[in-house]
């Protein structure tokens, strides 16, 4: 019986430590699990890092992976969530020739309709920034591609979970031991 492959967002709270990224990514590599995206940043707690990792796997594997991540000494807690259980976004930037902005009125419409922000404009180029779901970013990229894109970059997913993760409680419980 083969389980359904789904997109899971794995959230990992860790100490801020050199080498931990290596330890965590090795858990995926060893099991031949392709990481769709990985971002790491400061979390809501000072000194605690948060990894957001997106993978397409079955739930059984997601659960096993999370246990392996939690087993690492410097992992505080790890969780996995489905897309429905998170609020998530990606962001992207475009660099486009400036003359297009004035010569192609269609571009201005695209910018307006897609809620895209103009970050900077100079003589040679202008830079657009947009946050949103993957399909919105992809459709924007397709629309702008018609006119020519000098550079495009997209970030990995960042996600907030709908349910609580209670890391602060966990840490203060330790401090009060």
């Amino acid at each position: 019986m083969k389980e359904d492959i789904k997109s899971f967002t794995i959230s990992v709270y860790t100490e801020n430590n050199i080498g931990l990224l290596n330890r965590i990514s090795a858990i995926f590599q060893r099991r031949h699990i392709n990481i769709e995206s990985l971002t790491t940043s400061q979390s809501e707690i000072d000194g605690v890092n948060r990894f957001v990792i997106v993978v397409n796997i079955c739930e059984d594997n997601a659960s096993k992976i999370v246990k392996q991540i939690e087993k690492q000494v410097e992992t505080i807690r790890a969780y996995y969530h489905t897309e429905e259980e998170t609020i998530f976004t990606e962001s992207c930037m475009f660099k486009i020739k400036s003359d297009l902005l004035f010569n192609e009125p269609q571009i201005q419409n695209i910018i307006k309709e897609s809620n895209t922000t103009i970050v900077t404009v100079n003589k040679e180029f202008f830079v657009l920034e947009k946050s949103g779901r993957r399909n919105e970013i992809e459709s924007l990229r397709r629309d702008l591609n018609v006119f020519g894109i000098m550079q495009f970059v997209r970030s990995g997913r960042i996600a907030i979970t709908k349910d609580q993760m209670k890391i602060t409680e966990l840490l203060s419980a330790f401090d009060n031991q």
Partner: protein
């Protein structure tokens, strides 16, 4: 480094200004280390200079290869339950430890490895003997770190010992740059007692124990399979009490061996690829399977989708990542085995399962007739590995610690050695490291000099770390070495015979004069080729106060049975 410290009174010692290298040695002494194994070299020389000054407090054993140091530290840890310590220089010294570290990781052996590293300003410059040992060791350590400042040394070592021995034990590595060794610090040692991101022992829930007890109390054919978790948790007494109260037949994995005496009436033998016939076969007949401190290794389960499918599965383990990893459980009981088994004991009804136990006895009788009798009481001309073990049992009365290497002799040793005392079966289980036996026996003997330590090794594995005879000689370690010489890499040859139409590719060995080599190291040595010499030779070896080497020429092409062929179900266990 965020570590929780012991209470203030305990650590109120005056700070002293000392070097980083002295701090390494003082930290080891503060952790109660009396023996460590290692090999000096450029990047660790300042620490060795301090070891020289502290040699009345801490004994450094110079092995002949860093791999030997790692395995010796493992042997020390496995027989004593304490943390083994190995030390090496940077570059090749550090990489040579890796096999031992990987072995300790998969067999949950507490190990602290300290490696020297090039000066921190040279890191990343491809300096002489620079290697990224932290990167290399990451997948095979429980934790590791690099120290580049002298003042971080005591904290890193304290954390290393705490992590190595707490919860599910494992190897840790602390890499110390040379500038950190030579710089000064204000030394103060505080033992680590907790790390906020690390929960080594999950609390055992009473509900899970009750659920387990209910399944067991209602079971008609319960069966226990215990592993090393019982030994690591020092829960031998609790396990025995559980088994006896509920009358449950209990089998063991290779690393669980010796936790319950071989002669115990409810001890039904070893599970796994070359385990006993009855516990393998009846794994697929039991109604409740209780796994305790074991991890359902593929060598134990055989084909997973045909493993104990009819049974309810209860899994006791300290490591939550083991639950549902290979076998889906009906009831998981997390926690330390000593505590969880004591709780289980209270919740169990007194019971017996005589007719179920009889099924094991009946299958044992079949195995005895078809396999065991021929192994232990052979009538053919060639010597068998089994009869050598039988003689050792007779002489040791089951009190010896048996250290084995990897291969046919290992399976024979685990199957036939009689154990009356826990921590008596020291072998490389998960990693299957040939070359483990000889150095591990040195560490075991030095950790427990009062015990008889017998290394059982094949002619292949023996030659993988044969240089450690030099360590035995120099340390006067009274290890008894038995090489079961069939002039083959026997286990691979057995597979070639059974599955590769006898194409013996690179498994036949033309061996040297082993007796002369042992004698070259001034170790008493003897070779036996005939059955009528065996009993007397084993007697002489066991009576020796010093180290002793015994080579036994055994039948060249004997096979180990029973056997579960790779990919087959446990119930397809073969007797021939």
């Amino acid at each position: 480094m965020k570590t929780q410290t012991a209470n203030k009174k305990e650590v109120a010692v005056k700070k002293q200004r000392i070097s980083g290298s002295e701090a390494v040695v003082r930290s080891l002494i503060a952790e109660g280390v009396d023996i460590l194994y290692g090999y000096p070299g450029g990047a660790i020389m300042p620490v060795y200079d301090e070891l020289y000054k502290f040699q009345d407090k801490i004994h450094h054993v110079l092995t002949r290869h860093e791999q030997g140091a790692a395995h010796a530290a493992q042997g020390y840890a496995r027989i004593s339950g304490k943390v083994g310590v190995a030390m090496a220089t940077s570059g090749p010294g550090a990489t040579n430890l890796i096999t031992g570290i990987a072995d300790a990781q998969i067999d949950s052996t507490p190990l602290v490895c300290i490696t020297g590293q090039v000066f921190s300003h040279l890191l990343g410059s491809d300096a002489f003997q620079e290697t990224d040992i932290v990167g290399i060791s990451t997948p095979v350590t429980k934790w590791n770190c690099q120290v580049t400042k002298a003042e971080d040394i005591p904290g890193a070592i304290a954390k290393a010992f705490y992590i190595a021995k707490s919860g599910r034990p494992g190897p840790v590595l602390v890499d110390i740059t040379k500038d950190a060794q030579v710089a000064d610090l204000d030394f103060e040692y505080k033992k680590c007692t907790g790390i906020r991101s690390y929960n080594p022992v999950p609390k055992t829930s009473q509900e899970s124990v009750n659920a387990a007890a209910e399944l067991i109390n209602n079971a008609k054919k319960p069966m226990i399979v215990w592993g090393q978790g019982v030994i690591l948790g020092k829960a031998e007494v609790e396990l025995k009490a559980v088994i006896e109260k509920a009358g449950i037949p209990a089998a063991w994995t290779i690393l669980g061996a010796s936790a319950i005496p071989t002669s115990h009436p409810l001890n039904i033998g070893m599970v796994g690829m070359h385990g006993n016939y009855a516990p393998n076969k009846l794994t697929n007949e039991c109604d409740v399977l209780i796994a305790i401190g074991m991890r359902f290794d593929d060598r134990v389960t055989g084909r997973l989708d045909a493993y104990a499918k009819q049974a309810k599965i209860i899994h006791f383990d300290i490591d939550p990542a083991e639950i549902d990893k290979n076998v889906k459980t009906d009831v998981a009981v997390l926690g330390d085995s000593k505590e969880s088994l004591a709780m289980l004991f209270d919740a169990l009804n007194k019971n017996s399962h005589d007719s179920w136990l009889q099924e094991f006895k009946d299958l044992y009788a079949i195995e005895f007739e078809q396999v065991i009798n021929g192994d232990l009481n052979p009538t053919k001309e060639g010597l068998t590995m089994g009869e050598v073990l039988k003689q050792i049992n007779i002489e040791s009365e089951g009190k010896a610690a048996i250290v084995s290497d990897v291969g046919q002799h290992q399976m024979i040793a685990c199957r036939y050695a009689e154990f009356n005392q826990s921590k008596s079966n020291i072998t490389s289980g998960g990693l299957g490291t040939m070359g483990f036996g000889l150095p591990a026996a040195i560490g075991a003997k030095m950790a427990a000099p009062e015990r008889e330590v017998v290394a059982i090794i094949g002619d292949g594995g023996y030659q993988m770390n044969i240089q450690e005879l030099g360590t035995i000689f120099q340390q006067k370690a009274a290890v008894k070495i038995v090489v079961l010489n069939n002039e083959f890499l026997g286990m691979v040859r057995q597979w070639q015979q059974l599955f590769f139409d006898k194409r013996y590719a690179s498994t036949e060995m033309t061996n040297p004069n082993f007796v002369a080599i042992a004698e070259g190291y001034y170790i008493k040595a003897r070779k036996v080729t005939k059955r009528d010499e065996l009993a007397e030779a084993v007697k002489e070896m066991m009576a020796s106060k010093e180290s002793y080497f015994l080579e036994v020429r055994v039948e060249k092409e004997d096979n180990v049975f029973p056997m579960i062929p790779s990919g087959a179900s446990v119930s397809d266990v073969r007797l021939s």
